[in-house]
């Protein structure tokens, strides 16, 4: 990137002396700051402070009566009035050597250099894009999310009886995950388009609504854009996921993981926090029945659209709506920083709390934490 230097510009710092001159005798550096400067023509003044370190409190040093008035400069520390001697630098001979003049780049050389510079620039742009993806989109999304949240609050405050209308890209519910912190909440937008997901998690169009039998499915980003579902892999079975709508709180709990299904009722399922969480498996069917594949966490390929079916991974007609379980499914990309697979969290509705009983999430949180 550096260009040709001005002639001699860089060499200045090596040595001003032309080569071949003898080694310089130790000389006084004219601009030495610590030694008091002598006025032109002035006779060498006697040392103001003897080098033996005698202090001024002792017998006054011999002073010429015609000495000039005391200078304003503070007395230099002992020893510094001695002549400053410049020693040869170690390897001083090298420093005085002439540097060979930079070779002129030919046409080819200049082209190679330009290509190199372009490649370095391209690398920097790619790095910058990664910074954008991981951090800057967070900033943009934070603004959109807070806007959507304010708007949702305003709408909910207006009319409590109105049935929520689903408008593409507009928020209609809110998700809270207590284990991620009391302040973890995002609005849920209708649709899973890029624009909707920039604001926050998005509801798969056509899937059930919160609390309904069937599968309320929500997608969210894991990296960048607010990364609402960044920590989804940290959820464990029976962790609560709260969906807030205009009228109700719906408390879902993560279903048992595959390795916990065996002996669930006697094992983890007996813990108080797993109250009302079953395996959903049909004990009479070898494959577990309609919900045999619905475990708390699954990793699937992106093409597995059946994940968000009313009965996940099964034909939509397998069960009539009345027999369907109310599920909440969260999807995000997996592994982190990749889109090769999808991380799926399935949870089941365990409780519905109308807002006329518990007004806000802040009031609800201590009540539902007791069981944990």
């Amino acid at each position: 990137m550096a260009e040709r230097e001005e002639p001699g510009g860089d060499r200045r710092r090596y040595s001003g002396r032309p080569p071949g001159e003898g080694r310089p005798a130790p000389r006084r550096r004219p601009e030495e700051g610590t030694s008091p400067r002598r006025a032109p023509g002035e006779a060498p003044t006697p040392r103001r402070r003897p080098p033996e370190g005698r202090s001024f409190d002792g017998p006054p040093p011999r002073r010429r009566t015609d000495a000039p008035p005391p200078r304003r400069r503070p007395a230099p520390p002992p020893g510094s009035t001695e002549e400053t001697v410049i020693f040869e630098p170690v390897g001083g001979d090298v420093a005085t050597e002439e540097r060979p003049p930079p070779r002129e780049l030919g046409k080819g050389g200049a082209a190679v250099r330009t290509v190199g510079e372009l490649l370095i620039t391209a690398g920097l742009v790619v790095l910058l894009f990664m910074v954008y993806e991981v951090y800057v989109t967070d900033l943009f999304s934070a603004g959109k999310q807070s806007e959507a949240s304010t708007e949702l609050d305003g709408e909910w405050g207006k009319d409590r009886t109105l049935h929520p209308e689903l408008v593409d890209g507009k928020a209609f519910a809110r998700i809270h995950i207590p284990v991620f912190g009391a302040d973890f909440n995002f609005t849920i937008q209708e649709g899973t388009t890029e624009a909707a997901l920039e604001v926050g998690p998005g509801h798969y169009k056509g899937t059930a609504l919160p609390g309904e039998p069937g599968n309320f499915a929500v997608a969210g980003h894991r990296v960048g854009k607010g990364a609402p579902f960044n920590d989804l892999d940290n959820l464990s079975s029976c962790d609560q996921i709260v969906i807030e709508t205009q009228t109700d709180f719906y408390i879902y709990k993560v279903l048992p993981y595959k390795d916990e299904v065996e002996g669930w009722a006697a094992g983890k399922g007996a813990e108080p926090k797993c109250d009302k969480v079953g395996t959903l498996r049909d004990p009479n069917a070898a494959d577990g029945g309609p919900y045999g594949e619905t475990n708390g966490r699954r990793i699937v390929f992106p093409t597995k659209g059946e994940t968000v079916n009313p009965v996940p991974y099964k034909d939509p007609e397998i069960l009539p709506k009345a027999e369907q379980v109310s599920l909440l499914t969260l999807t995000t990309c997996h592994p982190q920083f990749s889109a090769k697979e999808r991380l799926i969290i399935h949870s089941v509705l365990t409780q519905q709390v109308p807002k006329n009983q518990v007004g806000s999430y802040a009031e609800l949180l201590p009540k539902i934490s007791e069981a944990r």
Binding site: M1, A2, E3, R4, R113, T114, E117, L118, V125, L128, F129, Y132, E133, V136, T137, T192, E194, L197, G202, Y204, A219, G220, H221, R222, G224, F229, V300, P302, T303, K304, G305, T307, V308, T331, T332, C333, F337, S338, A339, R342, I344
Partner: protein
Amino acid sequence: MYGWIWRKLPGPFAVKLATAVVLALGIVALLMFVVFPWLEPRLWFNEVSVQ
């Protein structure tokens, strides 16, 4: 390339440096606010849904 730009910048060193910094920041802003938002939906690794 960078050397050529540097030589084209007018003024003494301090002015050149300030102009260069402003130019670099301008390019970063252009990338962040225009190019990347346009480019991003055309890439494949932002998908989080199943279909």
